[in-house]
Amino acid sequence: MNDRLIGRAGFLGLLGAGVAGLFYAKDFTGTVDRLVPKTVSAVVPTSGWRIYTIADTMPDVAPADYRLTVDGLAGKPASFTLDDLNTLPRAEQVSDFHCVTGWSVNGVRWAGVRLQDVLDRVAPAQSVTSLRFVSAEAPYEDSLTLEQALLPDVMLAYEMDGGPIPRPHGAPVRLVMPRMYGYKSVKWVNRIELRAEGTAGYWERHGYDVDAWVGDSNGLA
């Protein structure tokens, strides 16, 4: 055999495997996370989460200072403290989180409130069709239609995996919309505006789909 073919074959084999991986490789961080001990995953995070921010500083909201303003087309616009939200019926769910860039975290445990219970307290107008969620991380925002926001697994979460939501995940309150890609699940939510028509969110102004259904939007199969 030609001695040079050995190295050439190895080189082309690596390239071929890499190009195939571009199209077929799946996120495996979740699998790694189940295999490595917790002491290892504390140092080298393998949970699968990536932290994406758009502003120069990450919001750092003290729980005591937190206010959620619900306004717009509401008969009784209101402002909720974290304690106020805690007095509303507590909802819990386990759902998967899918990022549009290809990674997922399965089986995240959330606790919080359903949007219906929030809306019930502000007397929304009949004309409301859309909810605009505004983040403390300006200018981040996104929206859901009223129908989407009232799906049974959509919530305003104040707990994640058994504890308060950590700062990088949107403390103290974030939206959770598991059926859509993660950019719809606005972190650090401090305002919900009730509207008669929809608005484009931050990433939607950068070309992403407004209806970001997992597996059926943004060109992803």
Binding site: G7, F23, A25, D27, V44, I51, I54, P168
Partner: protein, 209 residues
């Protein structure tokens, strides 16, 4: 040999300026992209340094500068030396195959392990550039948002860091190989060392003199 004193051991030229420039350009580009990439990737670092847009821009522009610099070195530099190295790295003769199975065997300018390192490094550089380009493009045009782009880019990073740790150990710490660091910085290595570790290469160099 008569004119050389014992205090100044004979040197032999191992790497041209082009080869050394290529090595250090790739190394500095890699380290800068690794540092910025880890800030973008690891939640603890992303939280600590939250200026994601700035870090992302540094990462992307470093990639552009890295690719342009490497292309310039290839076009303007000593292409013959680079191509000869590549031909050398791709060729695994009987001695190289013996060496890889842990037996003693005479080696050329690169030992078989170094050849593997060259092949992996070049292949990974191309795949890093390809997956990085599609990460950038996919964010702008979703036709190019592929399932495995991020996973490929991340996997290349994990493996590269492991390879880098081994490379640094051999280049800086391991007693029998750390002399090679001199070759990639100054270009010259000690001839007696080279005769022990790269016998076939030293013989060929002497024969061509």
């Amino acid at each position: 040999m008569a004119g050389r004193s014992a205090a100044a051991p004979a040197r032999i030229h191992r790497f041209t300026l082009t080869e050394r420039l290529l090595h250090w350009t790739h190394a500095s580009g890699f380290l800068l992209m690794l540092a910025t990439g880890l800030i973008l990737y690891l939640p603890s670092l992303s939280t600590w340094i939250s200026r994601r847009n700035l870090v992302k821009n540094v990462h992307i522009w470093t990639a552009v500068a890295w690719a342009v610099a490497i292309a310039c070195i290839f076009v303007l530099g000593n292409r013959r030396a680079l191509l000869a190295d590549w031909r050398d790295a791709e060729t695994f003769d009987r001695d190289d195959r013996r060496w890889l199975t842990g037996r003693r065997a005479r080696q050329g300018k690169f030992n078989a392990g170094q050849k593997l390192n060259v092949i992996v490094t070049v292949a990974f550089a191309l795949l890093f550039a390809l997956s990085g380009f599609f990460l950038w493009l996919g964010e702008r045009d979703h036709t190019f948002l592929f399932d495995g782009t991020g996973t490929l880019h991340d996997t290349l990073t994990f493996v590269s860091v492991a390879v880098l740790v081994g490379h640094l150990y051999l280049a800086v710490i391991h007693p029998s190989t750390r002399h090679a660091l001199r070759g990639i910085t100054t270009g010259d290595v000690d001839e007696a060392w080279a005769a022990r570790h790269h016998a076939k290469w030293v013989e060929a160099e002497r024969a061509s003199e």
